[in-house]
């Protein structure tokens, strides 16, 4: 039995690097410090359903094959294709992503990562208006106003609050842990009472509605000392339950709300009484809280990027930060999902100049989301082959896009069987990055962190990087043969 300290968790964009693992008989026996998602990932390497040999589709059935055959067949498909797509990349290390860019250039394909269905809109607006941001360390030590907009870290990034924001003891700001603990207890108590009422054990009391802003004035948060936590969302999420103030916005009206706040920050008068369901008077109080803080941060999630207006929401959110910075110090940060989606954007950018949706079909990188994004390419039925790595588009792309993806030859590289590998033509198993292979990943604030290898991969299973390198070599061989023949 051995212990490994300071392991980086390869699950979400928080990249917690304080995980302690106990290894027994070559498998992970205990996980300390991690959240439930982290534990599940570290235990998954010894999952008995794990795929250990490549599969290839013959007469409609997937049959086992060798790495050499799988790699050669994949290279043939990609080298022949007129418009292949190479998609995924967010759950693998930056070393593999680098090879991916080389491969995409070699085969003249469209290279895209999962940002296209999550934070792609954020990138578009960053390119238009820039982004005033900082590292999570700075937020931990200094931030006294934390706003989570359209995201629910309690469920999606479970240790975000505890490691980087409200629940952490920084050098200049203290943890609000105790007050939150009370709120959590109260919330749990409320739930219990409700369930007892449902079962008829307790008598039904006055129906308690979710407090919306209209019956919950933000005044108290202005007087509160220490860190303040505000959540803006369309529904009362778990994070909202423990927040100091919850601002409920009408679905799809975030844009109007941010613009309203911006106008107030600029001391303009509004000709309306309420914006997106929030009385202007309350907005004014919120704006006062924002301006009077020492260092505020807005974290935003899919609630902003994938609701109506998409990247224009982020455009104005960043503009709001710009306006606020004329009065106090403010920063903004996207809550990135996959552990290395930031890395995919970073690697693609330093290799090709563009963070996602890079089209190499003309021999040089080209970028125009809407035209060169994988989902749009699939919806217009333009591609004729696909490589999917470390991702599962079949379960989260639009149905029409999936139909076209499946119609053409499909290569899948993934440690586990998922919906995409079930419909793929060549399935190549790989080692789990951050568990069975070391590498580099970028945290949501663009800080690169090392991933550790804690156990050996199953015998014979190669890493993403190695598989891609072999395919690349094979593609180059096919191309040079073709040139010679010509």
């Amino acid at each position: 039995m051995s212990k490994i300290n300071s392991v980086t968790c390869p699950v979400c964009g928080c990249l917690c690097d304080d995980i302690e693992l106990t290894i027994a008989d070559g498998i992970v026996a205990q996980v300390k410090n991690g959240c439930a998602m982290c534990e599940a990932k570290f235990f998954s390497h010894s999952n008995e359903h794990r795929l250990k040999t490549p599969l290839i589709r013959k007469d409609g059935k997937l049959v086992p094959t060798t790495y050499t055959v799988a790699v050669r067949k994949s290279a043939e498909i990609l080298a022949k294709a007129n418009y292949p797509i190479l998609y995924g990349w967010s759950s693998t290390d930056s070393e593999a992503q680098r090879v991916g860019v080389e491969l995409a250039e070699e085969v003249g394909g469209v290279l895209d990562n999962t940002a296209v269905v999550c934070h792609g809109p954020s990138i578009l607006s960053v390119q238009e208006v820039g982004i005033p941001t900082c590292t999570l360390g700075q937020i931990r030590h200094r931030a006294d106003l934390l706003i989570y907009w359209g995201c629910n870290p309690w469920s999606a990034h479970p240790r975000h609050l505890e490691r980087y924001t409200a629940f952490t003891d920084g050098r200049f700001e203290n943890s609000e842990w105790m007050s939150y603990l009370n709120k959590v207890k109260a919330a749990a108590g409320r739930k219990k009472i409700k369930s007892l009422e449902r079962k008829g054990i307790l008598k039904h009391r006055r129906e308690r509605e979710i407090p919306t802003v209209s019956d919950n004035k933000p005044t108290e948060i202005l007087d509160k000392k220490g860190r303040k936590l505000i959540v803006v969302d369309v529904r009362k999420s778990m994070t909202a339950e423990i927040a100091d103030y919850f601002l409920q916005v009408k679905p799809g009206k975030d844009y109007e709300l941010i613009q309203g706040i911006r106008a107030l920050v600029r001391d303009q008068e509004l000709d309306v009484e309420e914006v997106a369901g929030v009385p202007v008077e309350y907005l004014q109080q919120l704006v006062d809280a924002m301006i009077s803080c020492d260092f505020g941060v807005i974290f935003f999630g899919m609630g902003l990027t994938q609701s109506p207006s998409k990247f224009r929401n982020i455009d104005v959110a960043i503009s709001l930060i710009r306006d606020l910075n004329m009065r106090t110090k403010f920063a903004i940060m996207p809550m990135r999902g996959h552990f290395n989606v930031t890395g995919a954007n970073t690697v693609f950018t330093w290799q090709s100049g563009y963070p996602y949706a890079v089209d190499f079909s003309l021999g040089y990188p080209r970028y125009n989301p809407g035209e060169t994004t994988v989902v749009d390419v699939l919806l217009r039925q333009e591609s004729d082959a696909g490589l999917v790595i470390a991702s599962d588009p079949v379960s989260n792309f639009p149905r029409k896009a999936v139909e076209h993806l499946v119609k053409n030859p499909l290569i899948v590289i993934d440690p586990h069987m998922n919906a995409t590998s079930l419909v793929g033509d060549i399935i190549i198993p790989s080692s789990i990055v951050g568990v069975e292979k070391e590498g580099t990943a970028y945290r949501m604030d663009h800080v690169p962190l090392p991933l550790k290898k804690v156990v050996d991969p199953p015998k014979g299973v190669l890493s993403d990087e190695e598989i891609l390198n072999r395919i690349l070599k094979e593609v180059r061989k096919i191309k040079s043969n073709r040139l010679e023949a010509a």
């Binding site: 418009y83 613009q259 106008a263 509004l270 000709d271 109506p308 207006s309 079909s361 125009n368 333009e382």
Partner: protein
């Protein structure tokens, strides 16, 4: 005059920025046949895709007879002459054009007239998204010229527009005139949400129904009619709004009073 007739259908995107009067000018038929294009990631020549004929008439114009909705960048950066497309046209039609005329007797895909600097672009059918809007990240939109769309327009049209005129006979999608600083837009039917968001100058005239008014516009006055261009006036009366206040902007929205009774609540501020 050159006549192009598509002879092949393909699923892959086609990039053919050579289809422009400036490029075709003073070239022999043989040279035009051999102009390079891209089909997917393969380099091909123009005659692989089109039957090309040259008429004796010596004018710098191109006629495309057939559907070219897969062909992108037609009329890229053209400065003179005329292109007529008898069918649907692909993305980036007339991008960066500074002169001449393009007429589409059909629909146009996204980014038509993007970063336009002059000339006339007329679309008889519908236009896609990003009509007259710039490339991603660029803040230089339409700078001059005129776009006329007889059908409807998708989202994000006229983003960062600086000058020029866009006339839409149909409806427009959301975010028309986002961050525009100058120029004139006339929507003869209904306008989508977030019209003129973040605008700091220019004017947008809506003769139909406005789906939603942004809270960051303030009413100024009511006006009887408004000038669109020389010899063309839109007849109101119109509510005139000033904004976008979030940008301390001075852009003007003219919204038809008759078609938008929901905005009458603003009249108390007059």
């Amino acid at each position: 005059m050159i006549i192009l007739t598509p002879i092949k259908k393909t699923q892959y995107p086609i990039i053919a920025q050579c289809i422009s009067p400036d490029v075709f000018q003073e070239k022999t038929l043989e040279q035009i046949n051999n102009l390079p294009i891209w089909i997917g990631n393969k380099r091909r020549i123009l005659s692989d895709l089109f039957k090309i004929e040259k008429t004796t008439e010596n004018s710098p114009s191109i006629i495309i007879n057939g559907d070219v909705s897969q062909v992108r960048r037609i009329g890229w950066g053209m400065t003179q002459g005329e292109i007529v497309v008898n069918g649907n046209a692909g993305m980036h039609l007339g991008k960066k054009m500074s002169g001449g005329k393009i007429v589409v007797n059909g629909n146009a895909e996204g980014w038509a007239g993007s970063e336009m600097k002059g000339g006339l672009l007329e679309i008889k059918g519908d236009a896609g998204d990003y009509l007259g809007s710039p490339y991603r990240g660029s803040t230089i939109g339409m700078r001059k010229g005129k776009i006329v769309v007889h059908g409807n327009v998708g989202s994000d049209a006229a983003v960062h527009m600086k000058s020029g005129l866009i006339k839409i006979h149909g409806n427009s999608g959301p975010f028309m005139g986002f961050r525009m600083t100058g120029g004139v837009i006339h929507i003869q039917k209904d306008a989508g949400t977030r019209l003129g968001a973040c605008m700091t100058g220019g004017k947008i005239v809506v003769s139909g129904v406005l789906e939603d008014m942004l809270p960051t516009f303030a009413i100024e006055f009511i006006k009887g009619k408004v000038k669109i261009e020389l010899g063309d006036k839109a007849i109101g009366p119109f509510f005139v709004f000033l904004g976008d206040l979030a940008e301390n902007g001075r852009g003007k929205l003219f919204i038809s009073k008759e078609k938008n009774p929901q905005l009458s609540q603003y009249e108390r501020f007059l």
